[in-house]
Amino acid sequence: MIPVRCFTCGKVISTEWEEYKKRRDAGEDPRVILDDLGLERYCCRRMLLTHKEIIDDLNPYQ
């Protein structure tokens, strides 16, 4: 799962993940999406840029 907040500054960034993922998968430039979402600090931007969702890989092993 996407971390609730940015590790560095504490801004809640998890709320933007669904939209970020959708638009990124549609081929949009991450820089434009992040600017649109209002994430101006690079600490918050890397949270979304570098996130890999693994909960679906874990789920079968319950």
């Binding site: 907040r5 504490g10 809640v12 998890s14 909960i55 789920n59």
Partner: protein, 273 residues
């Protein structure tokens, strides 16, 4: 001492604090970060959880959810008349019960007191598959950022001294400094380089312009960067649990109370001597 806001919204404030001293600016910043209380989930009772996240992980995620805080409604647990057991004056209770397949969000966290609900309902907590279930009860309490970062109501909260740019007579308007400046503070005028109107506050005092000027052949750089130690440019952001204005007023009152009590103690000691 004077404060001039350039921006004041419920979650962001930018202002210049003038006629002050570095010690005060820094105590103000530190008080806003670590001494302003707010609500955050501290205890979680888990009745059922067979999701992919461990109980601890779930509790951790719940703790980070910002909750709307009305400081007049709740007291710190240690200062409450219940003696720390937990009552409606010092605790806010939430319940969550969800069954997969679904994405559990902070809006599924049902607050007994709607005034203490999560700031946003869109925070994902855990994704559940078919057959997975989460049932829990969470207790939030008031505390300060000094205890744990989840009780810190500010995000970016900092200041810089006000920049001062002096351009000497020996400037020959070669423009090297303006080209070097990453914040686009400088522009070329007829006889020398100038600061663009309203851009001075953007200067990060990186001194790249000074270096560029020395590099262009002068013995002494014609442009000099220094800072005004009585003026501070602040940025304060809130996570939404308290409005920025309340954070600032609370911090200032807290600072005043502390310095008053220090004065009291000092007069007592000196009186006793």
């Amino acid at each position: 001492m004077d404060i001039a806001f350039s921006r004041l919204e419920s979650e962001v404030a930018k202002f210049v604090l003038s006629e002050s001293i570095p010690a005060f600016a820094n105590s103000f910043r530190r008080t806003m970060i670590s001494d302003v209380p707010k609500l955050a989930i501290e205890d979680v009772i888990i009745y059922d959880n067979n999701s992919a996240l461990f109980d601890e992980m779930l509790a951790h995620r719940l703790g980070l959810i910002p909750l709307k805080t009305n400081l007049s409604e709740y007291k710190k647990k240690s200062e409450c008349s219940c003696g720390g057991e937990g009552c409606s004056l010092c605790e806010s209770v939430y319940t969550l019960s969800a069954e997969g397949p679904c994405l559990v969000k902070s809006s599924d966290l049902i607050a007994q007191n709607p005034d203490a609900a999560p700031v946003t309902g869109e925070i994902p907590i855990v994704k559940l598959e078919k057959g997975q279930k989460v049932v829990l009860e969470a207790h939030a309490e008031i505390n300060t950022g000094l205890e744990h970062a989840k009780w810190q109501s500010t995000l970016a909260c900092g200041y810089k001294t006000y920049p001062v740019i002096t351009i000497g007579d020996n400037c020959d308007a070669c423009g090297h400094c303006a080209d070097e400046c990453a914040r686009h503070v400088l522009k070329l005028a007829k006889k020398s380089v100038e600061v663009i109107d309203g851009k001075l506050i953007d200067c990060s005092m990186c001194k790249l312009c000074e270096k560029a000027c020395v590099g262009s052949g002068w013995e002494d750089a014609a442009i000099r960067i220094s800072s005004d130690n009585t003026k501070f440019v602040f940025v304060v952001e809130s996570d939404g649990s308290l409005p920025v204005k309340e954070i600032m007023t609370y911090a200032l009152t807290d600072l005043k109370d502390k310095s008053d009590s220090l004065v009291d103690v000092l007069t007592n000691i000196s009186g006793a001597l």
